[in-house]
Structure formats: structure tokens, C-alpha cells
């Protein structure tokens, strides 16, 4: 088929389509693609009661395509809610080359949208950069440290800017991978971590995931349509994560059987809603809510310093 013969958009029925959603059969022009993505995010926000009209929302911005999509879409949604505010919060893990580039992209994007930006660093919060932690002998992969410490850093940043919501760029693929990883590890699906609408526990700012029903292919195509500046440097530790195996498996399944990721995600929602939130008390070292004893962050930071 010649590209000039692309089918007409199945939504507006006037413009040529540029994107096919295999799981729904839609063929969409650029405008309808973007509009339906934003509509889906709005529906997700409402379905899970993620935001209220007067929230100060900290948006976790890494400089990657997902978080830039989140920031741009929330900026559009927020324009309809004059009493709400957005502030971008960025974490500098101290990964030379990789994070430097991403923070530059985040800064330029925030400036373009007129959104305030705040950066917090692993060194300031935990005394070490991710590169320093990764250089030590360690039992766990770098991502095991980084994921836990990033979550804490984002929460600290959200608290520091006075936010009552923390929005993160987790997309449908991330959610489906989390379900798979929990199954592979023999874990239950922890409601407080999985629920897209979040749960405010103690000193944790309520964490919401407005992109949780948007496939990663679509955040990528949105980034392409909008002309976002894209990261060119891979995280040097990315290959260590077990999540990569789950990602490959799910991508192959989605390729063969479109809709697989939605099904896995929906299964996760069913399982998570049956799980109880386990908060037994506060960490004796940092005072954060924990399911018992020393929290995972203090455990990892202590382990990293050995």
C-alpha cells in the first residue's frame, strides 16, 4: 500500500489516518489520536477519583517520553480547573550521562509549558549517588535500589513543594509488567502500590497514575506527534532489571494477541482490590509508614553503605 493511500480516520471520517490501534480496530488521524488519548486520561482520572479541582499536583518528570506526555496532558486538563496547580518534580539519581541529558530535556519542557520545576538528588537525600551505589559489591540489581529510592525521593519532593497529589507517568505496559512480576515472584499484588488512584498512607502523598490505561506505544506516538525532545542515552543499568524479561514477554504476546496488556492489567486490578493495605507502624530510622520494622529504603541505604 502506498502511504498516500492510508485509510480515512474512523473517528472524524475526514482526515487520513496515521495510527492503527490493533486492540480496538480504530484508525486515527493525528488530531483524533491525540484527542482520544487525552479523553482516555480524563476518564481514568475520574474513574479512580485521582484528582480534585483544587489539588496542587506534583508531576514526576524524568525527561522521558512518558513523563513528558503526562505533564503535557495534565497541563491541558488542568487548564479546565483554574484552582488546581501543577509543579514538576524531578529526581537526580546521579547516573552520569543518562540523567544529565534527561534533566536538561525536563527543564526545557517545563519552561516551554510554564510549569515550575523542582529537582531533588539521591546524594542530598541518601548520601550517595546511584553510580556510587552501583559501583559497590551488591546482591541486588541497580534497579532494585533505584526504584525504591526514586519512589521515596519523589514523595519527599512532592511534600517539599506542598503537593497533595503525586502523579507519575506509569503507563499500561508498566502496570501489566508489575502484575507479571508479582506473579513470577510469588507475591500478592499489593493494593497500595498497584491501585491507579493511590492511597494516602501517613506521610506519603497520594500517588496517582493517570496514564495507566495508555499503552507505551501510544505515549511514544504522542511524543512523536508533539515533537518532544527524546532521550538518546539508555540507562546504563537498564539491562539488570527482571522487569525487562516481563516487558519482552508482554510485548511479544501483545504483538501476537492485541489486547493482552489490557487483560493482564484488568486482572491486576481485580487481584489488588482484594488485597489489604499492610501498615504495621513507622520505620524506627526515618519515621515512614512501613509494614514492619525498618523500611525498605533504610534497609537498602544501610546495605549500600556496608
Amino acid at each position: 500500500m502506498n502511504p498516500s493511500l492510508a485509510p480515512v480516520c474512523t473517528r472524524c471520517k475526514s482526515a487520513d489516518s496515521v495510527y492503527h490501534r490493533p486492540y480496538s480496530g480504530e484508525r486515527l488521524c493525528g488530531r483524533c489520536f491525540s484527542e482520544t488519548l487525552v479523553e482516555r486520561v480524563k476518564r481514568t482520572i475520574n474513574r479512580f477519583n485521582m484528582l480534585e479541582h483544587d489539588n496542587r499536583v506534583a508531576v514526576g518528570v524524568s525527561g522521558g517520553k512518558d513523563s513528558l506526555t503526562l505533564l503535557t496532558v495534565l497541563h491541558e486538563v488542568e487548564a479546565e480547573w483554574p484552582n488546581s496547580e501543577l509543579v514538576a518534580v524531578c529526581v537526580d539519581e546521579g547516573i552520569r550521562g543518562y540523567r544529565d541529558e534527561a534533566l536538561g530535556i525536563a527543564e526545557r519542557s517545563c519552561r516551554e509549558l510554564g510549569v515550575e520545576m523542582r529537582v531533588v538528588g539521591f546524594r542530598d537525600l541518601f548520601g550517595e549517588t546511584m553510580d556510587e551505589i552501583a559501583s559497590r559489591d551488591r546482591e541486588l540489581g541497580a534497579c532494585s535500589y533505584c526504584g525504591v529510592l526514586r519512589r521515596r525521593a519523589l514523595n519527599e519532593a512532592a511534600r517539599a513543594v506542598g503537593a497533595d497529589r503525586l502523579a507519575t507517568g506509569h503507563n499500561l505496559d508498566d502496570m501489566a509488567q508489575t502484575v507479571m512480576l508479582n506473579l513470577l515472584r510469588g507475591d500478592t499484588i499489593r493494593a497500595e502500590g498497584f491501585e491507579p488512584g493511590g492511597r494516602g498512607l501517613g506521610s506519603y502523598v497520594k500517588r496517582v497514575k493517570p496514564l495507566c490505561e495508555v499503552p507505551e506505544r501510544e505515549t511514544t506516538f504522542y511524543a512523536y506527534l508533539r515533537g518532544f525532545e527524546l532521550q538518546s542515552v539508555r540507562c546504563p543499568y537498564a539491562g539488570e532489571a527482571m522487569r525487562g524479561d516481563a516487558r519482552r514477554f508482554l510485548n511479544q504476546m501483545e504483538y501476537r494477541r492485541p489486547g493482552t496488556k489490557f487483560i493482564v492489567y484488568q486482572t491486576g486490578l481485580k487481584l489488588a482490590s482484594k488485597g489489604e493495605v499492610e501498615v504495621a507502624g513507622l520505620c524506627p530510622l526515618c519515621g515512614s509508614p512501613t509494614s514492619g520494622g525498618v523500611c525498605r529504603v533504610c534497609e537498602l541505604v544501610g546495605r549500600a553503605k556496608i
Partner: protein, 99 residues
Amino acid sequence: MSLVGVRVKIRVLGVLRSASEGAVDSLCFAGEPTVRDVVLRLMEGSPELRSVLWDEAVGSPVPNALIMLGGIEVGNLEGLETTVPDGSEVVVLSVTHGG
């Protein structure tokens, strides 16, 4: 006798750009290639690009990347079998890194 070939502009974006060393900006073919031909040629001599772009299990780059021909995602055309006309632009963008 001169051979008039087909020239295809290539733009590799995101992390795939560093994997491809950013070196290729166009490819020439004797006749109209398919998108699959373009991708296979692009990966020739670049094991690093192949490792992040090509999914060996399904024999396709589609699980890992978006490929656009003239601004249209090729899944909206005939996928990897879409014919690439002379002078058109193919954009390859990683889906799976840089979130």
C-alpha cells in the same frame, strides 16, 4: 548505462540513535524496498542496533519500535510489507526505552 536507484531518507530517534551511531541518514536500493528491507539494511553491520530493535522470537522490530513512513505508523499501512517509494522518509523510534 546508469542505474537509477531508490533513495530512502532515514531518521533514527531516541536511544536507537546512539545504538546506530547516528551514522545513516539515507539508504539506496535498486528497486522499491519494503519497510522490512529498510530495517534489515539499517541493522546490517550494527549488532548493537539489532539487539535493541529486533525481536528474534517474533522476527520483527514491531514489539520494540514504532516505524513511521511519511509520518504514518506502518501498522496503519501494510506493516513491514509496505512498499517504500523513492524519496520517502522512514522514522524509527524505540518504544521500550526512555520512559
